[in-house]
């Protein structure tokens, strides 16, 4: 990244200018006067013969490759700097007679000039050059192997040909794009984020950034992706098992906190569907990291019998503001002011329909009926669930004054299942629980296994269940982590 040590400025007063800037042309006589009276080095970005005055010639330095301007973070011309022993101690930008006189300690500067003129953009931040300069001056911080695509190859097709995609096009991760992506975090590119299964390889911030570019993320999404990668690769979450299982499950990402608004994430209409860039690309970026860095691919260690769309990447945000409950992150022990991402091991979303319940009791009983069939009505205590509750359903609980604890207590009471009904062989169905459950009442979900998140549009008496995969020590435990920049 930019570092003044890489291209130090000379000591004393320094002015950075370019001829194409009217303000720089305006102050050229002032620079000549300063050169004569106190000495000044003029760093010129474009024309080596500017400023055009004979006595200044020894003072002019041509910053032809813009290294000096780029490394010293010059954003405006003219910029006037003071440098002592190679270190910048002060700077002002544009032309202001009062400021320039104070800065230089000289009186009567620029007689006949207006008092003030704003500067122009430095060539080192010109949008047409900035990518090229970033690669030229900081590309060396990127350690990934470079792959040269042949001139006759289509870039997008080349990414498919090399096996880097999930079946949809990816954005080619050029050096410039990856450098831009890395601007989204304060973490060093070579910092290790996680050890990614199934190949169990160390994954750097840079590798996550490469895959985030490919997924279509903006730089500001990167912290969420980095946190999600770290969460996925914990022993509790067990990404390896989730990948290798024959069940149709993947990491479902739930985002809470202020970052939802910063990234313009969707927690409203169609939050589980298409159309929002952050929702669509953050989960995909995690999946691409698992595929490309971890080596987990369908047909390889990924042994899903049928898979599900949740394996492409399912990510959404909670509508915290419209909920009658505490936020989902608060229920996981985090402060409302924290931004978090939760990873739930789940399959595809399924509708829970109820258009007639007008009481909390009725709706809860109906929810229980619909949840009892998750995975199989005969499967109990092994898998958790997410409920994405819509605003119109949430309204029943707001009206009744129920909070999350009350709702869960009432729902769990409705979710007790008779062992006799689900034992293997009951009702002529061979699938079922072992005979030891006979005569007992069993909870559908393990303790703490119902995760309620609020979201959706204001209209529609529909909610969603996302059924889970095996929980506990031999499966995947839901993990929530705070997002750090």
């Amino acid at each position: 990244m930019a570092s003044p040590q890489s291209a130090p400025l000379p000591d004393g007063l320094v002015a950075v200018v370019h001829k194409d800037c009217p303000t720089c042309v305006l102050v050229a006589p002032v620079l000549a006067a300063m050169a004569e009276r106190v000495g000044i080095t003029v760093v010129t970005q474009d024309d080596p013969d500017f400023p055009d005055f004979p006595q200044a010639a020894p003072w002019v330095v041509h910053d032809e490759d813009l290294a000096m301007s780029w490394h010293n973070r010059i954003e405006t011309v003219p910029t006037l700097l003071r440098v002592d022993n190679g270190t910048e101690t002060d700077r002002i930008v544009g032309w202001s007679r009062r400021q320039w006189e104070e800065f230089s300690g000289l009186d009567d500067l620029g007689g006949g000039l207006p008092d003030f003129r704003p500067g122009c953009g430095s060539l080192s931040v010109d949008p047409n050059l900035s990518d090229e300069l970033a690669v030229r001056f900081s590309g060396s911080i990127l350690k990934s192997r470079r792959i040269e695509l042949a001139s006759l190859e289509d870039d997008i097709e080349a990414m498919f040909d090399r096996g880097f995609t999930d079946g949809m096009p990816v954005v080619p991760p050029t050096e410039a794009r990856v450098l831009r992506m890395l601007e989204g975090t304060s973490r060093a590119p070579d910092e290790i984020v996680a050890v990614v299964p199934p190949d169990l390889v160390e994954c750097s911030v840079e590798k996550v950034a490469v895959n985030a570019v490919m997924a279509g993320c903006r730089p500001e999404y990167l912290p969420v992706v980095l946190t999600a990668v770290a969460a996925a690769c914990t022993d509790e979450f067990n990404m390896h098992g989730l990948l290798a299982t024959t069940m149709p499950v993947g990491p479902i990402l739930i985002v809470n906190g202020p970052i939802r608004a910063e990234l313009a994430m969707n927690s409203g209409a169609n939050l589980l569907g298409q159309g929002n860039r952050a929702n669509s690309t953050i989960g995909r970026a995690l999946q691409l990291v698992v595929r490309n860095v971890g080596g987990g691919r369908p047909g390889g260690v990924d042994r899903a019998t049928q898979g599900s769309p949740s394996k492409i990447g399912l990510c959404f945000a909670e509508d915290e503001e419209g909920s009658a409950f505490d936020t989902y992150a608060e229920s996981r022990g985090f402060d409302r002011s924290a931004s978090t991402v939760t990873l739930f091991p789940g399959e595809g979303p399924r509708l829970m329909f109820d258009q007639k319940s007008r009481s909390a009791e009725s709706l809860t009983k109906h929810f229980a009926e619909m949840l009892r069939v998750n995975v199989s009505p005969r499967m109990v205590m092994q898998m958790e669930t997410v409920i994405v509750m819509s605003p119109e359903h949430m309204a029943r609980y707001r009206d009744a004054g129920w909070d999350r604890a009350r709702f869960l207590a009432e729902l769990e009471a409705q979710l007790m299942v008779a062992g006799d009904d689900i034992v293997a062989g009951a009702d002529g169905i061979e699938e079922g629980m072992p005979t030891l459950v006979a005569g007992r009442q069993l909870p559908k979900f393990p303790p703490g296994g119902i995760h309620v998140v609020h979201g959706g549009s204001r209209a529609g008496l529909f909610s969603t269940t996302i059924a889970g995969w095996v929980t506990g020590a031999t499966g995947s435990v839901t993990v929530t982590k705070e997002i750090t920049r």
Binding site: R145, E206, H240, A244, T246, V470
Partner: protein
Amino acid sequence: MTVVLDPTAELRPEKRERVVRPESLNGLTVGLLDISKPRGDIFLDRVQEKLTGFGAEVKRYKKPTFTKPAPVDLRHEIAVSCDAVIEALAD
């Protein structure tokens, strides 16, 4: 020409030579890794019988659970004591 960054772990060189296929299993040590799925042992017992018939020495290993990767120590032990490994990943 576009230059992109390799999104993978770069574990594989551009091209990798395969290990030469052995003429026979006679005298070779073959490891059988049981991933701890129910009845996997019955299947592997039969595979062991067959391999022993071919003159191979068979060593048996077992992962603690099928849902998680084999522990590093176990993988290392297999790598240093076997010429070939058969791992059956299936339901």
